[in-house]
């Protein structure tokens, strides 16, 4: 099975480095889409099937928490697995994210091996 990923982060360098790490890890990737904020991601989800979302929290226009709420509100998107990749370290924020049904949280900086292991686990368990 080949996967469609969606990378949501306002930093272009983070998006590009995630793309690289994922392709080097030899996942069977059909498409790795990118969005610079939550709104762009929602727009893309209107017409693309996504298997896993990599989500930053601190973004302009629509941040990661607002995006997650919108994602979980819609029946077409509420089951999509989400992996948070953010600098966020607050316990309260983590609890809030877990309530919104995220599948994993990685705190930046994230080593490529860590990312690969987590994605393998999430795809394997899906």
């Amino acid at each position: 099975m080949s996967y469609n990923f969606l990378i949501v982060d306002d930093s272009s360098i983070i998006r590009r480095s995630l793309q690289k790490a994922l392709s080097m890890a030899n996942f069977d990737i059909n498409n790795a889409f990118e969005a610079a904020n939550g709104q762009e991601a929602l727009d893309l989800l209107e017409h693309e099937w996504i298997d896993l979302i990599f989500l930053d929290i601190n973004m302009p226009v629509m941040n990661g928490v607002e995006f997650l709420r919108a994602l979980r509100d819609k029946s077409e998107t509420n089951a999509i697995p989400v992996l948070i990749i953010s600098t966020e370290g607050s316990k309260l924020r983590y609890e809030e994210l877990e309530k919104l049904g995220v599948q994993g949280i990685l705190r930046k900086p994230v080593r490529p091996e860590m990312l690969t292991d987590t994605v393998n686990h999430l795809l394997g368990g899906a």
Partner: protein, 171 residues
């Protein structure tokens, strides 16, 4: 590194080696470390809320270029645009700030999104700024490193009343 080292020193070194894959060594004199002929870049994150303060990072062109290339794992043929270099610096500040807040204040405290500002600046402005920050709190809340041989300065300056309890230094 010593256990009672200021979190800004610890976190800056950690992020540079872990994220940017750089070899980090302590720096000495800012006047001799930085090159007067290269442009200076400065990024600051301003916090308001539980406390008011700012995180500032200062570097020069060779560092910026190396940072972006390292983060991307770019080979020699790969093009890294100036926008991506700026973006890498902003993200460096973002990652240092996130890790700093956890290191200094723990996971129980919640902080609002900081506001980031990027600017290109001159040797005079930078040198005065660094000297001032290095003398404040005996240079404890400032970090000066050579990362892969290139100078980098980082400081965390807090203006809120809670810091005065720790240092007795209010300005």
């Amino acid at each position: 590194m010593s256990a009672n080292e200021h979190p800004i020193k610890k976190v800056t070194a950690y992020v540079l080696s872990e994220w940017a894959m750089m070899l980090v060594e302590p720096g000495s004199q800012p006047e001799t470390m930085f090159s007067q002929n290269e442009p200076f870049f400065r990024v600051s994150a301003y916090y308001q809320g539980v406390f008011d303060g700012d995180l500032t990072i200062i570097c020069q062109e060779p560092f910026l270029n190396m940072l972006a290339r390292n983060v991307l794992g770019a080979d020699s043929e790969e093009v890294v645009s100036p926008e991506e270099q700026w973006d890498a610096l902003r993200e460096l500040a973002n990652i240092i700030s996130g890790n700093y807040l956890v290191e200094a204040y723990g996971v129980e405290t919640i902080f609002d999104l900081p506001h980031f500002e990027l600017q290109q600046t001159s040797f005079d402005g930078v040198s005065r700024y660094i000297t001032q920050k290095m003398s404040k709190f005996n240079g404890e809340a400032a970090a000066l490193y050579l990362a892969d041989g290139e100078p980098l300065f980082a400081s965390f300056d807090i203006n809120a009343s809670d810091y005065s309890n720790q240092t007795g230094d209010r300005r």
